[in-house]
């Protein structure tokens, strides 16, 4: 039977025919946790009496959510994770290295891999053609020890993309548009499989942004075929040997197909307090923004900083609006330094924080005050998400973020391009 990408990966992994709806126990190629889910993972692992990791080279702890730690208790959690890494020999990505999902994309994920992480945005690696999904700490503790986990093979929704993004519009606008269209539970338990003519020219950073937010529609996976762009990305990351092509079969069975013409998209914003509360940037022009946050596993890559730089170069942020920039990884920071982006952003009034999750989840580096509004390039705007239930988070693209920083109000970037 013709297979979707999700089915095909599990067929290859298990060496037999599997189809949507089946329960399978699959080996995992990579299992990881981060500093807010890792301590419980470690405790469950130890409490279960597990003695040995299935594969220490494919077990990773990332210190990224509270990095460097803003609080004593979180610093103590970091000690627990460092000690576990020393004791078991697993891989440790310490504070300042960057967000787990960015490092997984740069250094670890391969097309066709099965990847599980104790973080919902593990779906990001689907951009490289990996079967990658988030789970809780207990599941990851078991994956650490057994090197396997169970899945229900998901049905897939095919997202067929055509056309080209108009100026000022990017992958973030597409995924916000899609989530607005199908809703925050529009793909629950299912895979969002992206394909079509437009994917052939879509950059890896764009794919990562889209795959990252698949979970905001409830999806188990946000997955792309691997192709020449994947191959080039892996080569640029110094691991060309990790490439292999993964494509869906012609005639594979989809739960439904949604077609989107990129040329019809406009700068799009998710309003507080749900990601599917979507409208166009131009509909929100009177909304005052106190903080603009450019970064995260959604939009903290060099391409994202580049878009912001093209708008902010030689300009200043509006008085009363602060711009917080957090590169997604140390690699992104180094590249941005070398090209001169950091200087341009700082001259425009930005502050730069260390690579990691930054202000996204309300722990540090930009917690909001009562009544304040933030326009963020992150992936979530739930009530209280940025550290204060009495604040408001709008989600948008790097271009919309930069334009908003300039004007102090939610802005349509096409007006400043």
């Amino acid at each position: 039977m013709p297979k979707t990408i999700a089915e095909k990966i599990l067929c290859q992994k298990l060496g037999r025919d599997v189809s949507a709806g089946e329960i399978v126990v699959s080996p995992v190629d990579l299992a990881f946790a981060q500093d807010t889910t890792g301590p419980l993972t470690v405790r469950e692992y130890r409490g279960s009496g597990f003695k040995k990791l299935a594969n220490k080279y494919k077990t990773v702890l990332f210190l990224d959510h509270a990095a460097p730690s803003p609080q004593a208790q979180l610093a103590t959690d970091h000690i627990l994770l460092r000690d576990f890494a020393a004791e078991t020999g697993c891989v440790l990505s310490d504070v300042g290295r960057g967000v787990c999902h960015q490092i997984v994309a740069e250094q670890m994920a391969r097309p066709g891999d099965v990847i599980v992480g104790a973080d919902s945005h593990t779906v990001t690696a689907g951009a490289l053609g990996a079967f990658a999904t988030g789970m809780g700490s207990s599941d990851i503790a078991v994956a650490f020890a057994l090197g396997q986990t169970w899945f229900r093979v998901p049905e897939s929704i095919r997202i067929e993309l055509k056309g080209r993004f108009p100026p000022g519009v990017s992958a973030k606008d597409l995924i916000l548009h899609l989530i607005g269209k199908i809703g925050a539970d529009g793909a629950t338990y299912q895979a969002l499989e992206f394909g079509g003519k437009a994917v052939e020219t879509m950059s890896m950073p764009g794919r990562l942004t889209i795959a990252n937010m698949a979970v905001e529609a409830g999806a188990k996976l946000g997955i792309f075929p691997s192709d020449a762009i994947t191959e080039k990305y892996l080569k640029d990351m110094g691991r060309p040997q990790d490439y292999r092509p993964i494509t869906p079969d012609k005639g594979a069975s989809y739960e439904r197909t949604i077609e989107i013409d990129l040329a019809t998209l406009e700068p799009t914003v998710a309003r507080p307090h749900t990601v599917d509360n979507v409208t166009l940037a131009r509909e929100l022009s009177g909304v005052k923004i106190h903080q603009v946050f450019l970064g995260t596993c959604t939009n903290g890559r060099l391409e994202d900083l580049s878009i912001a730089v093209s708008i902010l170069r030689g300009n200043k942020c509006a008085p009363g609006t602060r711009l917080v920039v957090v590169p997604a990884s140390q690699r992104v920071l180094m590249e941005a330094l070398e090209i001169g982006y950091i200087t341009i952003l700082v001259e425009a009034g930005a502050l730069i924080a260390s690579p990691g999750c930054g202000a996204c989840l309300g722990l540090h580096q930009g917690v909001l005050g009562d009544g304040e509004a933030c326009l963020s390039t992150a992936n979530r705007n739930f009530k209280g998400r940025m550290g204060n239930p009495n604040s408001f988070v709008y989600l948008a693209s790097p271009a919309t973020a930069a334009a908003t920083a300039l004007t102090g109000y939610v802005a349509d970037p096409r007006e400043v391009l």
Binding site: I23, M135, L146, G387, P389
Partner: protein
């Protein structure tokens, strides 16, 4: 199987893991009794002190959307809640709840009002609202999840079986 009895605490649609345990309290995740005092704080700040052992959390659509933090079902269970009832539930929360031995029952929660006394028969798949007389049913869990729940969650299951025997 057990019969559960308690009071319904009704919440709306789209209760996220940030409503249940917000990121700003991440420093309490290694101090679970303290974290549990804040359960569902951003949805109802009075919930933690009003909930009694055996009570039910009753949500609407897409309960538990968002983060993979297992602390969300964990603190709901620690508060004494015997089951979560919702019209639909987000994938990772669902998996985490079962892994923690917290039943999640998918049913038409519109028929239940805040404060109603409920009686749940887990074996029969039925819910009786003792306050308004409504009779509800819930879908049985997928077999794999039922196998985990029957052992009290994922870790007890693995301790007993040593491995997954779900296929």
């Amino acid at each position: 199987m057990a019969t559960l009895k308690g009071k319904a605490f009704k919440f709306g649609d789209s209760i996220s893991t940030d409503h249940i345990v917000p990121g700003r309290l991440a420093h309490l995740r290694s101090n679970l009794p303290e974290l549990a005092k804040h359960v569902l704080e951003d949805a109802d700040p009075t919930f933690a002190r009003r909930v009694q052992p055996g009570d039910f959390v009753v949500g609407g659509q897409n309960f538990g959307l968002g983060s993979s933090r297992e602390h969300a079902p964990l603190v709901i269970k620690m508060a004494g809640v015997s089951a979560v009832l919702a019209k639909s539930v987000a994938r990772i929360f669902f998996r985490n709840a079962i892994n923690r031995g917290l039943p999640v029952l998918i049913t038409d929660t519109d028929k239940i009002n805040d404060g109603d006394e409920l009686e749940v028969d887990l074996g029969a798949g039925s819910i009786k609202d003792l306050t308004n007389g409504a009779d509800l049913i819930f879908k049985p869990l997928p077999q794999a999840m039922q196998a985990l729940l029957d052992e009290g969650g994922l870790i007890p299951y693995i301790k007993k079986h040593g491995d997954f025997k779900l296929e």
